[in-house]
């Protein structure tokens, strides 16, 4: 006897076999597929009852997880679009695993595709969870760590196109990351370890640098940079940590261990800006031992180097200058005064020092010459650059008096320096410095006496005079409309090409743009 169709009211519902061997109840008259609710239940009530899960009293709607694509049941007002597993991964709360697993098992019975494997094969525990590794998801026993069978394929009954996977939406997990980004982190760690080994830092430096790098790695400014930049950022982390521990490392020390120095400097800025930190500066004195580490100088020479630096500081030769260069020059004078005379070139070759600024070298040399010639018991004309080394000890011993004798007028001139108006014509010429110094030494001009000033103060800068621009009263600066009457048309036309010029320059300009 055919059953009554709920749609058209005709007794035309029969059971028919459909694709796959299933049996479906279909109305012959209207074609409606009868619902899963048994008709005897439907006869007793006009509406089809929705079977509710007893512990949920709110209307549910099925939705897919944004991360893994699994079906999940959300409350009507829920704003969460992630399944519980992905939420757990998001929050990283490992302690809620059991709670989530228990609630998930109930939900899975209602909506999610059922897993054929509910207990671990090894320890028969039901504490199973998804472990995400790259783009691969595996069911893992949380008690013993056994990787369960691949549950990706949940239903293999149908054709290839209708297979269903655990991830029925076939989307990538949210936490899958390309391996290149993970390589960047590893490269940064390797760089930190490399520098730590090379420079023999304490272990705490390495640990803090790693921690700093891990912190800054997740920031957008670092996360998406090239792997080379990440390596240099890691090196910058080591540098900053060293400075925070008051280690007198300089940027030059790291130059040897980074491929691109400019990117290393850029990385240092990125780290400081991202983490909003500032590393302390170091004094020149603290760098002396570091610069002269490979020279095996004794304590007396090191002490003399520091005395020479102090003298140069008094003479304003140290501010804003390369510290390494100054230390090398001071070491040179300390060496030749203690040992024997050698030229600067040979001295640098002996101890494998890098090149230094010729300007700085000449300024230091002229200072020592000036002071040596001020020694009362020395004949000034006998003092030359090749013999000044004999008087270095005397210069250091009587430096205050010699500075007074040599630069007696310095106290008057330096406090009243007017940089805008040159005192003599000699200050404006462009002759080379050595010739100028000799010339001034003969003539004894004011410039020669100002040796104890910073070099930037010795040459007054000439101001460039620019005529003042007048604003026409026709111009209303605040008006949103720019009128033609505001500006001289001739002036405006001078900024545009004439048609002939435009035709002439069109081709080369187009070529340039391409």
């Amino acid at each position: 006897m055919p059953e009554k169709c709920l749609s058209c009211g005709e007794c035309a519902v029969i059971e028919e076999e459909v694709d796959g061997g299933r049996v479906q109840r279909i109305c012959v008259e209207c074609g409606t597929v009868a619902s899963g609710v048994r008709p005897e239940i439907a006869l007793h009530s006009n509406t089809v009852k929705i079977e509710c899960v007893p512990f949920l009293n709110v209307k549910k709607e099925e939705q897919a997880c944004e991360s893994c694509g699994d079906f999940l049941q959300l409350s009507f007002h829920s704003g969460v679009n992630l399944c519980a597993e992905c939420q757990e991964l998001e929050s990283g709360v490992a302690d809620d695993v059991e709670r989530l697993a228990s609630t998930q098992s109930d939900k899975q019975q209602v909506s999610q595709p059922s897993s054929s494997l509910k207990t671990c094969n090894s320890c028969h525990s039901s504490n199973l969870g998804m472990d995400v590794c790259g783009a691969d998801e595996r069911l893992v026993c949380r008690d013993c760590g056994t990787v369960a069978e691949n549950e990706a394929l949940t239903n293999d009954d149908f054709e290839v196109t209708s297979r269903t996977y655990r991830n029925s939406f076939m989307t990538l997990p949210k936490h899958s990351r390309p391996t290149t980004i993970l390589k960047g982190r590893a490269a940064g760690h390797d760089k930190i370890t490399f520098i730590y080994n090379k420079l023999c830092f304490p272990e705490i430096i390495r640990d803090e640098a790693l921690e700093m790098f891990n912190t800054v790695f997740e920031k957008p400014g670092v996360y998406f940079t090239h792997i080379t930049t990440k390596e240099h950022i890691a090196a910058a982390c080591v540098f900053i940590v060293c400075r925070q521990h008051d280690m007198p490392v300089s940027l030059q020390h790291f130059r040897k261990y980074v491929e691109k120095y400019k990117i290393f400097l850029k990385g240092r800025k990125i780290v400081m800006k991202t983490l909003n930190i500032n590393h302390p500066s170091i004094t020149m004195c603290s760098q002396v031992e570091l610069v002269l580490a490979n020279c095996a100088f004794n304590r007396a020479i090191i002490s003399k180097v520091k005395d020479i630096l102090f003298l140069c500081r008094k003479a304003w030769l140290t501010q804003g200058r390369s510290r390494q260069g100054l230390i090398i020059i001071a070491a040179y004078y300390a060496f030749i005064s203690s040992m024997s005379f050698v030229s600067m070139t040979k001295f640098r070759q002996m101890f494998k020092f890098p090149n230094i600024s010729m300007l700085l070298q000449s300024e230091c040399s002229s200072l020592f010459l000036k002071l040596a010639r001020s020694i009362p018991w020395v004949v000034a004309k006998h003092i030359k650059p090749t013999t000044v080394y004999k008087y270095v000890d005397d210069i250091l011993q009587y430096q205050n008096s010699l500075l007074q004798l040599a630069f007696r007028s310095d106290g008057e001139v330096s406090s009243n320096v007017d940089l805008t108006i040159p005192e003599t014509e000699n200050e404006l010429d462009t002759t080379p410095k050595r010739k100028k110094r000799c010339k001034n030494a003969r003539h004894g001009t004011a410039v020669n006496k100002d040796v104890l000033l910073p070099s930037a103060l010795k040459k007054p800068r000439q101001e460039v005079f620019r005529p003042e621009t007048k604003i026409s009263p026709m111009v209303n600066l605040d008006s949103p409309v720019v009128l033609a009457s505001e500006f001289d048309e001739a002036e405006m036309a001078s900024y545009l090409l004439s048609p002939e010029e435009e035709a002439l320059l069109r081709t080369p300009k187009l070529t340039f743009m391409q």
């Binding site: 520091k306 501010q319 200058r321 930037a456 405006m492 090409l497």
Partner: protein, 243 residues
């Protein structure tokens, strides 16, 4: 200030003065004051007493007497119309356009002597003016030039983004001493840059201080911030003057 630091020969590193990070830079260091001004300045920093957080109480009567000069103003304006940069570059005499290198036309005018970056969205950046009015005037001239090229350019949302000023305190400054006592705000790496970079908290200005006594102030949105920043830093610099 030489007596503040130990001799290099004794291998002692100069000890920086203790400073509270939130304090104004001037409050962290007590400059040498003339007796007549002693009552006008706050007393030696008292850890238990109330402090102005970010700027010293510098009376106007004790100002430096030096006014920083504005050197550069960066401003933006919206021309409020889409622009064909190719057309502008082909028809303007003073325009550069290399799309492979930069997606904007670089245009220059002689008076005021400025440079503009004109983007296809109609937005424009103008730099090089020496005052706020000149910056506005220059931006209007660029807008007029764009109008003459056939685009319905307007002049909307003019805003000054940055102002740069400079001045000279007329005495040399010991940068190493300054960085030791004001390390929280200062950065001095002579291997990178010969000047000291001082990041003032209030006003939020960055100062480049050089040994020659020249000071560059940048990061201001209004002129008053530059003046205020210089008045804050001047007493500190006086403390590190060569004596």
């Amino acid at each position: 200030m030489d007596n503040q630091f130990s001799s290099f020969g004794s291998a002692l590193t100069p000890q920086p003065q203790l400073q509270t990070p939130l304090l104004s830079p001037a409050m962290a260091f007590n400059p040498v004051l003339p007796p007549s001004a002693a009552s006008l300045y706050p007393a030696t920093p008292n850890p238990g007493g109330p402090m102005t957080p970010y700027s010293p109480a510098t009376p106007a009567s004790e100002g430096s007497g030096i006014r920083p000069q504005l050197q550069n103003i960066v401003c933006t304006v919206n021309l409020s119309c889409k622009l064909d940069l190719k057309t502008i570059a082909l028809r303007a005499r003073n325009a550069e356009y290399n799309p492979k290198r930069f997606a904007a036309v670089i245009m220059r005018i002689r008076d005021p002597r400025t440079t503009a970056l004109i983007f296809s969205s109609g937005k424009m950046v103008c730099t090089g003016a020496k005052s706020e009015d000149l910056a506005k005037l220059a931006a209007r001239k660029y807008a007029r030039i764009v109008q003459k090229l056939g685009f319905p350019a307007k002049f909307l949302d003019f805003k000054i983004q940055n102002m740069v000023g400079s001045c000279d305190v007329k005495f040399p400054i010991r940068l190493e001493g300054l960085v030791l006592t004001h390390g929280q705000f200062s950065s001095y790496e002579p291997e990178l840059f010969p000047g000291l970079i001082y990041r003032m908290v209030k006003p939020r200005i960055v100062l480049l201080i050089f040994v020659s006594g020249k000071v560059v102030l940048t990061g201001a949105k209004v002129r008053a911030e530059i003046y205020e920043a210089f008045e804050n830093i001047y007493p500190i610099l006086k403390g590190f003057r060569k004596q």
